[in-house]
Amino acid sequence: MTVTPDVDNKAVLLSLENVTLSFGGVKAISDISFNILEGEIRAIIGPNGAGKTSMLNVINGFYHPQKGTITWRGKRRRRMKPYRAAASGIARTFQNVALFKGMTTLDNIMAGRSLKMKRGLFWQMLHVGPAREEEIANRRHVEEIIDFLEIAHIRKQPVGRLPYGLQKRVELGRAMAMQPELLLLDEPMAGMNLEEKEDMSRFILDLNSEFGTTIALIEHDMGVVMDLADRVVVLDYGQKIADGTPAEVQSSQEVIDAYLGVGH
């Protein structure tokens, strides 16, 4: 198994080697290797049940593969808890929006700042001095995200009542608030109309170019993937069947078979 060589001499941010994950004998991912380069937009595609979401779950420490190694920033990663993955700079969004329904847009995005806030109970109780300064500094950061995502008008609305497209946007904002090095997006455009998809694509591209955030995304809309991604990895039945630039992947016979054959 060869690992794709570095493109443009970009450093490898994350690499998975021979990763296998199974649930009670059912293999969700079998022997997959691929890497994500710093600053790129990497797409993971494949038919339903191909193991895409499991892949993300492995990357952010929610599932622990039975075999294989994960290397993060050149260091081999041990079995870790999701919150440790978060602390090391991996953020994500979810296929079915997983916002904190009882909170406002603002609080949801503030929630993404949890790791950036440190002040202890004493100051929190008084809500003065350092705790307040910290709160305000983070609020400012969050406001910049709100501005970036153009959601100022829903700032103080509870997220539960927002339309789906806006919820997805808030969720992106929440992940952005973590200032991650690697951002995992699980079908960021599922269930959106054309206009919303265009907006979301623009945000993803801007996010990548303005802040240099590395992005790995799962997406079904091939048009979107081809427009956004620098490189694409294709999974089918838990196995990698192609890896390369959008153009390469599109012309791969195996990919065509997987999509047409399965009748996707």
Binding site: F23, T53, N57, F62, F94, Q95, A98
Partner: protein, 319 residues
């Protein structure tokens, strides 16, 4: 220190070996208590299985049904008529609960349904005290035909006493479980009830509405409660303290799982026998009264190692 370890680990077992007749007696007592726990737990399971409602009021239903029975008898009804009338009351109660509580709360969060049954507990408790008084009463066991005698068994140079009522309780419990099993597997309604636990649509195709099913399971668990109440009342007294004891059924459920009838029985016996043994052989070391918390602590410890219960399957969390 050494003494303490000794009294915790060695002494109880030595005692058991020394007086096996006493041990048998203790286990039997625990077994009967366990059956009663199991019966209460069975009421929970019936309702939980069919409607997903965690019925906190099961305990008070036991007390309430027993009070109704005694109350009706005191009002002049012959025992058997009173029994049938009580079954009628439990039926009306079940329909009322379905009509005025469950139907209005359909599709609500589990916790809300739980709390509704806590509210129901208060209502039944208040109503029970209002109509029948708050004082302790004794069950009309003689009138219902239970003999108060005992069967003595001489064994290991000692005497083990089996109260007739306890034997009756065990037998009735067994009969009841058999009846319920037959009901579930052989009757149309029973099959519908089982189906509803898995798939609401499937149940509907049998031609019974969800509302009817709820009323039926509440009625069924009402009858279970009545039987429990009679047995319990015959063994001791009918009082509202029973409600607190009934909470132990929750611990039973944790051991046995929320949806398994077999689990409820095994769990009930485990708790019943376990707490009696613990109380008798280890209780004195702690100063007694450990029965009050043994079931819960057992459940808690159990949960830490096997959160899904004895018969549950491991759940894979999905993102």
């Amino acid at each position: 220190m050494q003494e303490l370890i000794h009294s915790l680990t060695v002494a109880p077992f030595m005692e058991m070996g020394q007086y096996p007749d006493f041990l048998i007696q203790v286990v039997w007592e625990g077994f009967v208590a366990g059956i009663l726990y199991a019966l209460i737990a069975l009421g929970f399971v019936l309702i939980y299985k069919a409607s997903g409602v965690f019925n906190f009021a099961q305990g008070i239903m036991v007390v309430f049904s027993a009070l109704v029975l005694i109350g009706l008898h005191e009002a002049g009804m012959p025992a058997w008529i009173a029994l049938i009338a009580t079954i009628g009351v439990m039926g009306i109660l079940a329909m009322g609960i379905e009509r005025f509580v469950l139907r209005k709360l359909v599709n609500q969060h589990d916790a809300i349904l739980l709390m509704a049954t806590i509210g129901l507990t208060l209502v039944l408790k208040g109503a029970g005290q209002l109509f029948f008084g708050g004082e302790t009463k004794s069950m009309i066991s003689d009138e219902l035909g239970f003999s108060s005698g005992a069967y003595d068994w001489e064994v290991f140079d000692g005497l083990v006493i089996f109260q007739h009522i306890d034997i009756a309780a065990a037998v009735i419990a067994v009969l009841m479980v058999i009846a319920l099993s037959l009901f579930f597997s052989k009757t149309r309604i029973g099959r519908a009830l089982r189906a509803v636990a898995d798939d609401h649509q499937a149940a509907l195709s049998v031609g019974i509405s969800l509302n009817q099913i709820w009323a039926i399971v509440w009625f069924a668990s009402g009858i279970v409660a009545l039987v429990t109440g009679i047995m319990w009342g015959a063994r001791s007294d009918v009082s509202f303290a029973l409600e607190i004891i009934a909470l132990k059924a929750l611990a039973v459920l944790i051991l046995g799982g929320f949806t398994s009838i077999a689990g409820a029985i095994v769990g009930g016996l485990l708790v019943g026998i376990g707490e009696k043994l613990f109380e008798v052989y280890w209780g004195p070391i702690f100063g007694g009264g450990v029965e009050a918390w043994f079931a819960y602590v057992l459940a808690l410890i159990f949960l830490l190692f096997r959160p899904q219960g004895l018969f549950g399957e491991r759940i894979i969390e999905r993102v």
